[in-house]
């Protein structure tokens, strides 16, 4: 027995952290798709978009939701990072192991870590730029997309959807009763569909005429 380990060992804390990662992950997954559909209302026109935005503003959904999302991103990031190979030796073991094994699910973890880090950086820029021109209006968003944010938002869309869907896949693998071969293709279709929807919304923003 080792004193420090015996005193510090707490299965409840360790299991709790895993559940926190799971719950924040599911919350962010839900938020991401909600956000995507809300933003995609631009496809139906500027009025629809502005009406949605005003609705969220009026009922304080934005003012509760945004801080919650920022908190969830931080907590989820920290909880998820605890398992990633951060030490140089671990990193080298993981990369050599993945190269030897040539196993798609194992490579997918690397994709999950890298997209997660990408989302962390890009979402910070995205949240900052959106909040600094509050409230959200179609014209302001279109102006942002047209003045250089198109590629940033496209990258964020791709990284976030891939990360979210890989995460959902991982949750189903880890917790569900169903064999993964039975749901993998549906998750791939869903990812493609959601990315396509987001891309169309971005293109519509790009070609929305903004009265200056």
């Amino acid at each position: 027995m080792y004193l420090q380990k015996t005193l510090a060992k707490s299965p409840r804390w360790e299991a709790g952290t895993e559940l926190v990662e799971l719950i924040t992950g599911l919350f962010l997954l839900g938020f991401l798709q909600f956000h995507l559909f809300a933003v995609s209302s631009i496809i139906l026109g500027q009025e629809t978009f502005n009406r949605d935005s005003q609705f969220l503003d009026e009922y304080y959904i934005s003012y509760i939701g945004i801080p919650l999302v920022i908190l969830a991103i931080l907590v989820h990031g920290l909880a998820a990072m605890r398992k990633a190979p951060w030490r140089v030796e671990e990193m080298r073991i993981f990369l050599q192991h993945s190269r030897r094994l040539q196993h798609l699910d194992t490579w997918a973890w690397l994709a999950q870590i890298l997209t997660g880090l990408g989302v962390l950086v890009l979402s910070a820029i995205h949240i900052w730029s959106t909040l600094s021109t509050w409230p959200i209006e179609a014209a302001k968003s279109a102006l942002r997309v047209q003045s250089g944010h198109f590629s940033l938002l496209l990258a964020l869309l791709l990284l976030a959807e891939i990360h979210a869907m890989l995460g959902l896949y991982r949750i189903l693998v880890k917790w569900s009763w169903v064999h993964r071969q039975r749901f993998t293709k549906y998750l791939v279709y869903a990812t493609l569909g959601l990315v396509a929807l987001g891309f169309v919304a971005l293109v519509v923003f790009y070609f929305t005429s903004v009265k200056v």
Binding site: E14, S98, W177
Partner: protein, 243 residues
């Protein structure tokens, strides 16, 4: 079938002669019909290098001694036909386990420690009466228990697991599958929460990140995804309820 000349690139290192550093050594061998790696390795040892170390006992995927990395993937050498492999075959010992020499690793110590940590035996206060008839068990349940019991402890799932490769104290699929067997066995009187104390940790089921290489390479095809998910659900529930 056209005969092929196979090239084997085999990991060589003997801990007894540490002055000779680890290296890959090449051998060539003509392929014969239905040749397994078991046959190939024995021929290499008999015909080319008697110092080549590797393990075999049963030759029939039952004993689990011949696990090794075959072109990077863990598998049983006795069950692997050379005809399913390319002309060039790389053989390395399983990672995670202590190297005995060349392709031979000591899985025994690892599994013994695992079973001791998990106390992988039936815990019961009932006194055993050798003269009384065996207690009846529902057939479905008996089969579910047997499904987990089929594990031959070859160590392939452990070698295929990124977490087990990085963290020496991780139980791995073999360990979690083992505990799954006791979680569903009504004869074991341990409560799920007692098991949670050992398994509901980052070294246990919550250390698993679900990369599923174990499930994909298990030589005896135990449904490890389902087994690990079962343990995870039971452990999460035990942690939440304290029962």
């Amino acid at each position: 079938m056209a005969e092929r000349l196979l090239t084997f690139s085999i990991f060589r290192y003997n801990p007894a002669t540490p002055e000779i550093p680890p290296r890959m050594q090449e051998f060539q061998l003509d392929e014969t019909p239905n040749m397994t790696l078991f046959i190939a390795l024995n021929r290499l040892r008999e015909e080319q290098d008697p110092s080549l170390m590797f393990d075999f006992v049963c030759r029939a995927a039952v004993c689990g001694s011949c696990g090794m990395l075959i072109n990077g993937r863990p598998g049983l050498a006795c069950k692997t036909l050379t005809q399913d492999l390319p002309d060039r075959i790389t053989l390395m010992p399983l990672p995670v386990f202590k190297l005995v020499g060349d392709l031979s690793v000591d899985t025994g110590v690892w599994f013994r420690q695992l079973n001791e940590n998990l106390e992988a035996w039936i815990h019961t206060d009932k006194e055993f009466d050798p003269r009384s008839p065996e207690e009846r068990m529902d057939n479905t349940l008996a089969q579910e228990i047997y499904e987990a019991e089929r594990c031959i402890e070859c160590g392939s799932c452990i070698a295929a697991c990124a977490t087990a490769n990085m963290r020496a104290d991780f139980l791995g699929a073999a360990g979690l599958n083992r505990i799954a067997r006791f979680l569903i066995d009504p004869r074991d009187e341990r409560s799920p929460y007692q098991i949670f104390e050992v398994v509901g940790t980052d070294e246990g089921v919550f250390g698993c990140i679900g990369l599923m290489a174990c499930d994909d390479i298990c030589p005896v095809e135990i449904p490890l995804q389902q087994q690990l998910a079962l343990v995870r659900r039971k452990m999460a529930w035990a942690g939440l309820t304290g029962k």
